[in-house]
């Protein structure tokens, strides 16, 4: 579904992504692991159109999407969430979700004056959908709270909820479980699995929590120093010498011996 060829992103002399090539299959939940500074988030940013690659290309269903602006990628069903949860802080949680679908008829100046009924109908449908999403994520009691005032974990859920407001095809989750307690983490992983099964979302997940990865992801890709070290099932990755050295630590290796 997503194919990345020889992708480079340099910041001055620093090579954050240094010739990464990988493929993500449709319908999978792919885990992206690697030590801090491996270039995982930069890779996400390049794919999502926030950063332009120094060179290399990104393909979505064999179509070159390198360097397209984020709002256009969004319209093609490519979404991402942030490592540190982002929200429209002065709006309520429900409004945050209702913001998402683009090309609403209320955006046309003409319609704001002459299409009021259509807008009202659309808004009602959106509102129902937003409430449904909030319920799915078990945060329906927060619907009318300002998004800036809810907890960090709840903001993460809201981020996930944002991807549910449209028919996303592939969603990039950047450390969706970081700083979230176990119970909430289970809610999040259940939601991810359900979305994957029921709505056929493809996920790419950056995560450091190996239990979380084990529960969700197959295959797993390991990055280090801007390159892809290994790709395969979690078992294969765990057994890979290079990965152990770069990320999982030699402790495992000695234990194995």
């Amino acid at each position: 579904m997503i194919k990345i060829e020889n992708l480079h992103k340099h910041f001055g002399g620093f090579q954050a992504v240094d010739g990464a090539s990988l493929e993500i299959e449709s319908g999978t939940i792919t885990g992206l692991i690697g030590p801090n500074g491996a270039g995982k988030t930069t890779l996400f940013n390049v794919i999502a159109g926030v950063l332009e690659p120094t060179y290399g290309s990104v393909y979505l269903d064999n179509e070159d999407i390198t360097g397209l602006p984020p709002h256009q990628l969004f319209q093609r069903g490519l979404l991402r969430t942030f490592q540190i949860a982002h929200e429209f802080h002065s709006m309520t949680c429900r409004e945050n979700l209702m913001m998402v679908p683009s090309d609403q008829s209320g955006e046309k100046i003409w319609n704001t004056w002459f299409g009021r009924k259509r807008i009202a109908d659309e808004e009602r449908a959106l509102r129902a959908k937003a409430d449904e999403v909030l319920e799915f994520l078990t945060i329906d009691h927060l619907a009318d709270h300002k998004a800036g005032q809810v907890s960090g974990g709840q903001k993460k859920l809201l981020e996930l909820g944002r991807t549910m407001m449209v028919d996303a095809r592939i969603v990039f989750l950047d450390e969706v479980g970081a700083g979230v307690n176990r119970t909430l983490l289970n809610t999040i992983s259940d939601a991810i699995i359900r979305l994957n099964k029921e709505r056929n979302y493809t996920f790419v997940v950056i995560e450091h929590d190996m239990d979380f990865i084990e529960k969700l992801c197959d295959p797993v890709i390991c990055m280090a120093e801007g390159k892809v070290l290994a790709q395969g099932s979690l078992q294969e990755i765990k057994a890979n010498e290079n990965v152990i050295e770069a990320y999982l630590g030699t402790g495992l290796k000695y234990k194995a011996l």
């Binding site: 926030v50 984020p70 969004f74 982002h86 002065s90 709006m91 683009s102």
Partner: protein
């Protein structure tokens, strides 16, 4: 003691003029605050945008007057306002297309955009003086007063009179209408909400499928309309003189900062705070005090805290005090 007359003198010289001036500042500060909240820089060209919009309105007014069109007791300028708004919008959109967009695509820092806006300011300033000249232009017509001092005295039999100019009435009513429409737009319409979303969190807005160019275009259109309305109202109330608008930049920025940059409600409150401070501090209170104090305490001096020549200093002082004690502004703006 004669408190009623004191109240009338106070209304005539302080309250009504400050209310009108505050409305003009509030409209100006709304423009500045929208640009700051959404495009993230302080637009120094705003004063001259007001001058440009007002100039087009003045020219259109003269043209309408020459055709013999009039609105009866209301100033013809109200009819000319749409021309001013449209042409000013086109001009502003052109500056965005040819100047600001280049820097936006480069993701230029706000400081650079401020300097760019100063360049635009000088160009607009020159353009306005080139087209209409640097002198005072009169374009107010129609009925001058809703109620004049003489009529008021006859009506009430009081010693002091209260004048209420048509332009003051129009200024206040227009300001209320414009503010209501703006808040309805920002809070109720989808485009307005996208603007607020973009102002809250630019990265997220982009990744939620909000088209940034559209938000920017709509912002400039609103700002051009606000600036033209504010500039025309100021010109009607006082007189149209290009250089005065450049000087207005200081109280306008003071209003926006006092209220909290990026916060529209703050901009309105700030406008009135600055206007009322400026007027009360530079007003000679002798007459009001003469009426309100017992004879033995009657003042012998003018009782003026500051000469009107120093009125701009008032904005500075308010600015400094607010930044010292509440750096985010009274209503919590974005920065500082």
């Amino acid at each position: 003691m004669d408190l009623l007359n004191a109240l009338i003198v106070f209304s005539n010289f302080v309250f009504i003029p400050a209310l009108a001036y505050g409305s003009q500042l509030a409209l100006g500060a709304l423009g500045v605050t929208l640009i700051y909240g959404i495009l993230r820089f302080s637009n120094f060209a705003h004063g001259d945008t007001m001058a440009f919009g007002a100039m087009i309105t003045v020219l259109a007014t003269w043209w309408l007057q020459s055709l013999g069109v009039s609105l009866g007791p209301f100033p013809t300028a109200i009819l000319a306002l749409p021309f001013g708004i449209i042409i000013c919008s086109l001009f502003i959109l052109a500056t965005d297309r040819f100047v600001y967009r280049f820097y936006r695509n480069q993701k230029a820092k706000p400081v650079i955009l401020v300097i760019v806006s100063m360049g635009i300011m000088f160009i607009m300033n020159g353009l306005v003086r080139f087209i209409i000249g640097p002198n005072d232009q009169r374009f107010a017509d129609g009925e001058r007063f809703i109620i004049s001092v003489r009529e008021f005295k006859q009506l009430t039999g009081l010693r002091e009179g209260l004048a209420f100019k048509t332009t003051q009435g129009i200024t206040i009513i227009t300001a209320i209408l414009v503010v209501l429409i703006l808040f309805w737009f920002l809070n109720k319409t989808r485009t307005g909400k996208s603007m607020r979303a973009y102002s809250d969190n630019e990265d997220l807005a982009l990744l939620s499928g909000i088209n940034p160019e559209k938000v920017v275009t709509v912002t400039w259109l609103i700002v051009a309309a606000l600036a033209t309305v504010a500039g025309t109202l100021y010109g009607l109330d006082k007189s149209f003189k290009p250089f005065v608008y450049f000087q207005l930049l200081l109280p306008i920025f003071a209003s926006a900062i006092v209220g909290g940059l990026g916060n529209p409600i703050g901009a309105i409150a700030g406008g009135f705070i600055v206007a009322f401070s400026e007027v009360t501090i530079t007003y000679a209170w002798k007459k009001v005090l003469k009426y309100s104090l017992p004879e033995s305490l009657e003042p012998t001096t003018l009782m003026q805290l500051l000469s009107t020549d120093y009125k701009f200093a008032v904005s500075f002082v308010i600015l400094i005090v607010v930044l010292l004690f509440r750096p985010t502004g009274l209503f919590r703006g974005k920065a500082f």
